[in-house]
């Protein structure tokens, strides 16, 4: 194993933090969705590293599952964003506070 497992985890943790900051701070629904995607990918990196570390294919299987879920999630999320944009003409999450 060329890259040590510790480095892989650090990379994945940094990516996760980036995704979190993106999802929490950006004032655009699409960017929030992107942040969520990045968080998912960070998790897949950790899975791949772990599969290599323990020589077990289950980690890679999980990665495939996460891809499928992420694809589905993105399609639903984008559809929701389009719907919301058509109704209100805005993709700023601070405008959607009817529940307040």
């Amino acid at each position: 194993m060329i890259v040590s497992f510790g480095h892989v985890l650090v990379l994945s943790g940094l990516l996760f933090l980036l995704g979190t900051v993106c999802a929490v701070t950006r004032r655009n629904l699409i960017m929030i969705l992107l942040g969520v995607e990045i968080m998912l990918n960070a998790a897949t990196i950790a899975f791949v590293g772990a599969a290599l570390r323990w020589h077990d294919m289950e980690g890679q299987v999980f990665v495939l599952f996460i891809f499928a879920v992420a694809a589905a999630e993105v399609s639903v999320g984008l559809a929701l964003i389009i719907g919301v944009y058509r109704r209100t003409g805005s993709v700023d999450p601070s405008n959607f506070n009817l529940l307040k």
């Binding site: 929490v24 929030i32 999450p93 506070n97 009817l98 307040k100």
Partner: protein, 629 residues
């Protein structure tokens, strides 16, 4: 009671007689709403089986020596058991038969009277309800059971008085009847509780035995007798609570005939006859009963003298005849009271049903109107009404004559002559107001030549006339003949009771009552009947007396005043204040507090999804740190 072969058919018959109308009531209420004709058929079928059973029972047990009773345990909770069952003795057998006969005849009559009414099915359902409650009341074993059916009868009365509930006066009348009878029933119930606490048993047979006098002090006996009599006052419309009965005439006429003259109001008198041995322990209570009966009798007769509404006249006369029965019973004349109850049921139902024919034809209750429109052209009802009226006035040889003479004889036995004197005054008044009504209808001053139009359905009209005619003829026959069965009935009833009152041979009472009735008849002929009479009674010539009678001795005014003064302005006002200030105030305070607290914490809730996301992350991180380190 010993051999089952003897009891079982009796039990079946009693169950048939009492519970079949209940079945009919349930079936009509559930299934037969859209089929009024079938509803009527079912109801009449049930009541005729009930009638047959009752008559069979009467014949079967004509030589009854000891009362038959049958008991099952209905409710058992801890030490308390409430038995339920039938008690058959001569009085209940006789009453059961009377009730069944009148119920049957009135239901047949109603086929004609109520034809085409939109509430036809409802009418027959209520009639079945009444038949069930009333027949069950008569054969009740315990006072609790009797009380339950007593209230059910009251419910049926409420429903039937307000049968035409769209009419404001009818719905007012039903409320009045319900509340006033309930007023007496509260006293009745308190009396029952008193008996239950101090005697421990409400079995009618035990109450009538010698034990209550041994176990209860005379004061307690007097108080509980008076309280139970309160229920009788309410149900039988006696003196302080008498004004609901005339208003109850808002119901259909057959209902008045059945409930408010012949059977339901007589339930009070029946209860009195039932508990006569118990009441007899207390001479004070009996004196009070006698006084109340007398006051009601005179008061109601005077009110009847000035009323122009044909049904109200009969209602007042019902009160006064019930007063007679209570006088007779309170004076110790068991048979006199029960016999008058029986004969009165016959002739008063007859009078009401005849009036019903007139009201049906002419669409008015006013006797002068009926006379003017040619009331005498209706031959059968007119003749039957004269028969009934003569019985009411106590003219021989009709049934009323015999029973009234018996009561007068019993009263004449009392040492104090005031009772028999008042009763004779009552005889005079009764004959006067009865024949006032008859003469006003029979000899109207002016006759409208305009015939009342019956429309096109002449055929249907004739059928309904025939349906209404037969009960009249049967009841007239009963009225004519029942008096001659006095001796066998007395023999039959005497078996249930150990002591028989000695038959008083007061010929002077007989002659004076006949004389008074004849004078009253002549007076009413002079004032209302003869050619050229101006049809103004002697009471109407004295304005203050007329007002006094027409306003029902100001009893209603007094109730109105008491209600406004004490109930509305006193108790009701206090309750309203409590409601507004205490209850509303506390609820309002609670809800206002909730709203304010909500406002205050609402800043936490911004409705911004990213803040939530942030909080979720922070929470997850903190949780992770907590679990790892």
């Amino acid at each position: 009671m010993t051999e089952p072969g003897f009891v079982l058919p009796t039990l079946t018959l009693v169950a048939l007689a009492t519970w079949l109308p209940a079945v009919a009531f349930a079936l009509i209420m559930i299934f037969l709403r859209p089929h009024p004709r079938q509803a009527a058929g079912l109801s009449i079928a049930a009541v005729s089986v009930s009638l047959l059973s009752a008559v069979w029972l009467l014949i079967r047990h004509w030589h009854l020596s000891t009362p038959i009773h049958f008991t099952v345990r209905w409710v058992a909770s801890g030490d308390l058991t409430i038995p339920f069952g039938f008690l058959l003795d001569p009085v209940s057998l006789l009453m059961l038969t009377v009730v069944a006969v009148i119920c049957f005849l009135v239901q047949v009559y109603s086929l004609g009277y109520m034809a085409g009414d939109p509430g036809f099915w409802r009418y027959y359902a209520f009639m079945s309800l009444f038949a069930w409650a009333m027949t069950s009341l008569t054969v009740s074993l315990t006072l609790i059971q009797l009380y339950i059916f007593w209230e059910l009868v009251g419910l049926a009365s409420y429903l039937l008085i307000g049968f035409w509930y769209e009419k404001f006066s009818a719905s007012e009348a039903r409320k009045k009847a319900f509340v006033m009878t309930r007023f007496g029933d509260v006293a009745f119930f308190l009396g029952l509780l008193l008996l239950l606490i101090h005697f421990g048993n409400l079995d009618i047979m035990e109450l009538n035995g010698p034990t209550p006098a041994e176990r209860m002090s005379p004061l307690l006996l007097t108080v509980s007798s008076l309280l139970i009599f309160g229920g009788i006052i309410g149900k039988s419309a006696q003196f302080p609570l008498l004004t609901w009965l005339p208003d109850a005439m808002e119901g259909p006429t057959p209902v008045s005939a059945l409930l408010h003259s012949a059977t339901m109001v007589a339930a009070g008198v029946y209860l009195f006859a039932r508990l006569l041995p118990l009441f007899s322990h207390s001479t004070t209570a009996m004196a009070v009963f006698l006084a109340i009966g007398t006051i009601s009798m005179v008061a109601a007769s005077t009110m009847a003298m000035v009323s122009r509404d044909i049904k109200r006249v009969w209602a007042y006369s019902t009160i006064s005849q019930l007063g007679y029965m209570i006088m007779g019973l309170a004076a110790g004349g068991f048979f006199a009271g029960v016999f008058h109850l029986t004969t009165h049921a016959g002739f008063k139902a007859l009078l009401f049903l005849c009036s019903g024919v007139f009201i049906h034809h002419f669409g008015t209750n006013d006797m002068v109107e009926i006379g003017r429109h040619g009331g005498r052209s209706l031959k059968i009802p007119m003749v039957c009404m004269i028969i009934g009226a003569a019985a009411l006035a106590g003219l021989p040889p009709l049934s009323g004559f015999f029973s009234k003479e018996l009561i007068l004889g019993v009263l004449a036995d009392r040492p104090n002559p005031i009772w028999v004197a008042t009763a004779l005054l009552g005889v005079f008044l009764t004959a006067y107001y009865t024949f006032r009504l008859i003469f006003v209808i029979l000899f109207p001053r002016t006759v409208d030549k305009v015939k009342v139009q019956h429309g096109e359905d002449n055929h249907a009209d004739r059928t309904s006339d025939r349906l209404m005619g037969w009960p009249l003829i049967i009841l007239s026959a009963v009225t004519l003949l029942l008096g001659f069965f006095e001796a066998p009935l007395e023999h039959f009833l005497a078996r249930g009771l150990a002591a028989v009152e000695p038959a008083g041979g007061h010929t002077w009472v007989l002659f004076s009552s006949l004389g008074l009735a004849a004078i009253a008849l002549a007076l009413s002929w002079f004032e209302f009947g003869r050619r050229g009479a101006d049809q103004v009674g002697f009471v109407e010539r004295i304005p203050w007396l007329y007002d006094f009678f027409a306003e029902r001795w100001y009893i209603d005014r007094f109730y109105r005043f008491a209600l406004d003064r004490f109930v509305y302005r006193g108790i009701a006002a206090l309750c309203a204040q409590n409601d507004q200030k205490v209850i509303d105030g506390s609820i309002d305070g609670l809800s206002r507090g909730t709203v304010n607290t909500g406002r205050r914490i609402a800043f936490l809730h911004t409705g911004m999804i990213q803040y939530r996301l942030l909080i979720i992350f922070v929470a997850m991180v903190l949780l992770g740190m907590f679990f790892i380190f």
